[in-house]
């Protein structure tokens, strides 16, 4: 197991280098000037000063080398748009908030989604099953900006006196409930459907019949044999999903005015804030790689058969 983890960690280095190279290449490919945001043209001398300041006057491989060096020493450089801040500061300020937001959303998705899927599968074709699945389909189909807007309008603005939910912001538990549900709704319905499907499949398996036949209590059959085997797809999906959730959602953060990191994914690209885009892409890739690693380890816990193959 240790060997497996070491090898996986080692493999992240070339992956990261490739991610940096690709992001760097794509950023250079789209045109635009990181210092020009308005109609006002920038005089040549000032453009030169700016380029020198941010090393944009250097050849691309030197710039790439600086980015790589920055990533591996965790010094992501100054932001080109927010001249008083470094990318490290942007990440340090926004990431904990997005991580909390995504964590809460994930918690909501798992706590509600998995039981919903289990009960639906155990009571297949019942009223509960139909209601839960209809609800899931709707929840999956409706975009987050709509649910967020509706949540805010009803629960914060219209009934705010009773619910106490603020119309925006991120301070105190109360302000976090609506965004967490809005962000977690999609993944929640996804988990519910995934678990239901996989449960139904597992329930048909021979070993379940055997377990039942040898006289085990139904609760134990479900708790140990069915659940354990049907959760594998959910775990597979959960890893990368968590990676995406904790790096923030542009839409949710914008609508709820949450000071997370999600909005920078969009704004840094549109303003050509190269260093911020680069820093965030690297952050996201590290998180996804880590999440996948954890998933692989969890496989081993859930399914002993996969343990030996990888050692």
């Amino acid at each position: 197991m240790a060997k497996f983890i070491v090898r996986r960690v080692f493999w992240t280095i070339p992956v990261l280098l490739l991610v940096i190279l690709m992001t760097f290449g794509m950023m250079k490919a789209i045109k635009g000037n990181p210092f020009r945001h308005t109609e006002h043209n920038i005089p040549v001398a000032i453009q030169k000063n700016l380029d020198r300041q941010f090393r944009l006057d250097q050849p691309w491989y030197i710039q790439y080398a600086y980015y790589v060096k920055g990533v591996f020493t965790w010094n992501l450089g100054p932001s080109m748009l927010q001249r008083d801040r470094t990318v490290n500061e942007v990440v340090a300020q926004g990431f904990p908030i997005s991580a909390e937001e995504g964590g809460l959303a994930m918690l909501f998705a798992l706590i509600v989604g998995i039981p919903l899927g289990i009960i639906s599968a155990l009571r297949q074709n019942s009223i509960f099953d139909y209601t839960a699945m209809t609800f899931s389909n709707i929840g999956f189909a409706v975009p987050a900006f709509l649910t967020s807007t509706l949540f805010l309008y009803f629960f914060a603005l219209k009934w705010g006196h009773f619910t106490g939910f603020p119309t925006f912001g991120w301070s105190g538990f109360h302000s976090k409930v609506l965004p967490a549900i809005a962000l977690g709704l999609g993944p929640m319905t996804y988990f519910a459907r995934l678990v239901r499907g996989s449960m139904l499949e597992t329930l048909q398996q021979d070993y379940i019949r055997t377990a039942k036949a040898k006289g085990l209590r139904w609760r134990r059959v479900v708790g140990v044999h069915v659940l354990r085997n049907s959760l594998i797809p959910a775990v597979t999906a959960a890893g990368p999903l968590l990676g995406y959730l904790i790096t923030g959602s542009f839409i949710i953060e914008r609508i709820f005015a949450i000071p997370g990191i999600g909005q920078y994914y969009v704004t840094s690209v549109s303003s050509r804030d190269y260093t911020v885009t680069m820093g965030l892409t690297v952050l996201l890739s590290i998180l996804i790689i880590a999440a996948n690693l954890i998933v692989d380890i969890l496989y081993g816990v859930l399914d002993p058969r996969t343990r030996d193959q990888r050692a």
């Binding site: 789209i30 000037n33 945001h37 109609e39 001398a45 008083d84 914060a156 119309t167």
Partner: protein, 543 residues
């Protein structure tokens, strides 16, 4: 033993309660007195460094925590007042002398002196800072040379910059030419002095609340990025008596709908974020709705190499139904434009007297007839060209309207959209040959028509039309050397006539003059959004 411990715990708890209680009583007392106003702003200020900030959100915060060298009157004239850091000034040809007031103090108690001003300006001009707005200083002797210096000669060129402090309270400026608007230009936030010891000590972190030193009506006490800023009244500021607000909360709300929710819920008293087009009709009917003129013009430019005949350009300019655009798309109350000089500029009436383009375009038969008349005079008109815009909903709607207006002249304009950053680079300089017509706007840096009309000189970096007129250039050059306002206005009028007058070259079709809007609760007054996009909070009071 156990009893003893219980006693201690009990005592400690009682003490804690007492402290908390007294603290609570104190804050309750303070809260009774202090006036708190919450204003939503539409973005996290990219920078609170006066030397580096380039956007209006940053400028608004900066202008309230600092003391502008020149404050402008709150009417259309935007006259320089003697209420800023410079209480007096003298202009003698190319020499400008500023006399600073003696009672302006930094928040650390030290006086704001001429040395601070000179040092700050040299910092902004220096190539090391790499400030976008260093070009605001290019009118000062030696500034451009120092800003574009190579490492070896920088120190020598720095000494040649025409800024000096003959004594503690006097700043002497040598200009490259008499720029009669220089005093007004000094109202711009890029001219604000900064407290250099703090800047040198904390580098880029000097604008953080714990490090920042300023000299304005408010003090920055908290800056939570993307969340909120808090400004507290500076009771030691020289004009503190007239400031009626104790605490200003500036929650950062990017989304227009969310900002409106916060305003409706009463969390904010002023909404300066901006509005969704669907909300505007309802909001306009409320007493909370306020309009403010902006010094800016929304226009379409023509590539005169693709559309060489002036009669065709006139036909295209006349055909645009401006009234429909401002009424149904702009909605705020924008003003249909006849000239490039915007409505808000001083002496607009005189300068724009030759403006003749009808607001109704092809909506009335007369407008269309006029356009067709010009079209019939055009030799080899270009009936098929590309109309470039940047891809935001409002601009697309306007382009579609213009496209249908032009179709009535038989012209096929193909709308091409690009994302903003790419669009700016695409247009030029140098002007892109693929462009037939393009949309842009211009918002003033300083309240003088020169800032607008100089755009269309031959060497201007913002002229993407390929239009170049020597006579126009010489008039604009003359304006720089004409301190007499009436004479200068007459020159602007001439230039505007060459540009958009009846006998003009029409390299552009002005469409409308920008306006700004905000919501203010009816018990709040005194919020001032000036036409240059800077908001002032020191006059706010709550009834």
């Amino acid at each position: 033993m156990r009893r003893k411990r219980a006693l201690w715990v009990g005592l400690a708890m009682a003490l804690a309660l007492a402290i908390a209680g007294s603290g609570f009583a104190a804050t309750a007392k303070q809260q009774k007195k202090s006036v708190v106003v919450s204003i939503s702003i539409g973005a996290d200020p990219p920078s609170l460094d006066p030397g580096l900030a380039t956007d209006t959100t940053s400028a608004s915060v900066i202008a309230n925590i600092n003391d502008p060298i020149i404050r402008l009157s709150q009417n259309q004239a935007l006259k320089p007042l003697h209420t800023g850091l410079a209480q007096n000034w003298k202009v003698h040809g190319t020499t400008v002398t500023l006399y600073l007031r003696h009672n302006d103090r930094w928040t650390n108690g030290k006086p704001v002196t001429a040395k601070d001003v000179v040092g700050s300006w040299l910092r902004t001009i220096s190539p090391q800072l790499a400030a976008d707005y260093a070009y605001q200083f290019y009118g000062i002797k030696g500034a451009q040379a120092y800003n574009s210096c190579k490492a070896a000669n920088c120190n020598a060129l720095k000494k040649k910059v025409g800024i000096s402090a003959p004594n503690k309270w006097t700043v002497k400026i040598k200009l490259v030419s008499p720029q009669p608007w220089f005093i007004q230009q000094l109202s711009h936030t890029s001219f604000l002095p900064v407290y250099l010891p703090a800047v040198n000590k904390y580098k880029t972190a000097w604008t953080q609340p714990s490090h920042i030193v300023t000299d304005g009506p408010f003090i920055l006490t908290s800056w939570k990025h993307n969340q909120s800023l808090t400004l507290v009244k500076n009771s030691k500021w020289r004009g503190a008596k007239s400031v009626k607000v104790d605490v200003l909360k500036l929650p950062i709300i990017v989304d227009a709908g969310t900002a409106l929710n916060a305003y409706r819920a009463g969390t904010t008293q002023i909404d300066s974020t901006g509005f969704n087009p669907t909300d505007i009709p309802t909001l306009k009917k409320t007493k909370d709705w306020h309009l403010t003129p902006n010094l800016g013009t929304y226009y379409y430019g023509f590539n005169v190499k693709q559309i060489p005949d002036v009669n065709e350009r006139k036909a295209l300019a006349v055909a645009i139904d401006r009234e429909a655009i401002v009424k149904h798309i702009g909605q705020l109350g924008q003003i249909p434009a006849k000239t490039f000089t915007p409505f808000g500029i001083a002496n607009y009436k005189t300068i724009s007297k030759g403006g003749w383009i009808p607001a109704y375009g092809d909506d009335t038969s007369r407008g269309l007839q006029l356009a067709k008349l010009y079209m019939s005079k055009a030799k080899n008109p270009n009936m098929n060209f590309n109309l470039y815009i940047n891809n935001s909903a409002g601009h697309i709607q306007i382009a579609e309207q213009v496209q249908s207006n032009w179709a009535k002249l038989g012209v096929t304009a193909t709308i091409k959209t690009l994302e903003w950053a790419q669009y700016l680079q695409f247009l030029g300089p140098p002007p892109n040959p693929a462009v037939g017509a393009y949309r842009l706007g211009w918002l003033a840096d300083y309240p003088e028509d020169y800032n607008f009309l100089s755009l269309w000189t031959c060497n201007s970096g913002n002229n993407n039309t390929n239009w170049c007129n020597k006579k126009y250039d010489s008039i604009m050059n003359k304006a720089v050397h004409t301190p007499n306002t009436a004479k200068r206005v007459a020159l602007y009028q001439k230039a505007e006539d060459i540009l958009t007058g009846k006998g003009g070259a029409m390299p552009i079709a002005p469409i409308y003059y920008y306006v700004g809007a905000y919501l203010e609760k009816t018990n709040v007054t005194g919020y001032y959004a000036n036409p240059l996009g800077t908001d002032f909070y020191d006059g706010i009071s709550v009834r």
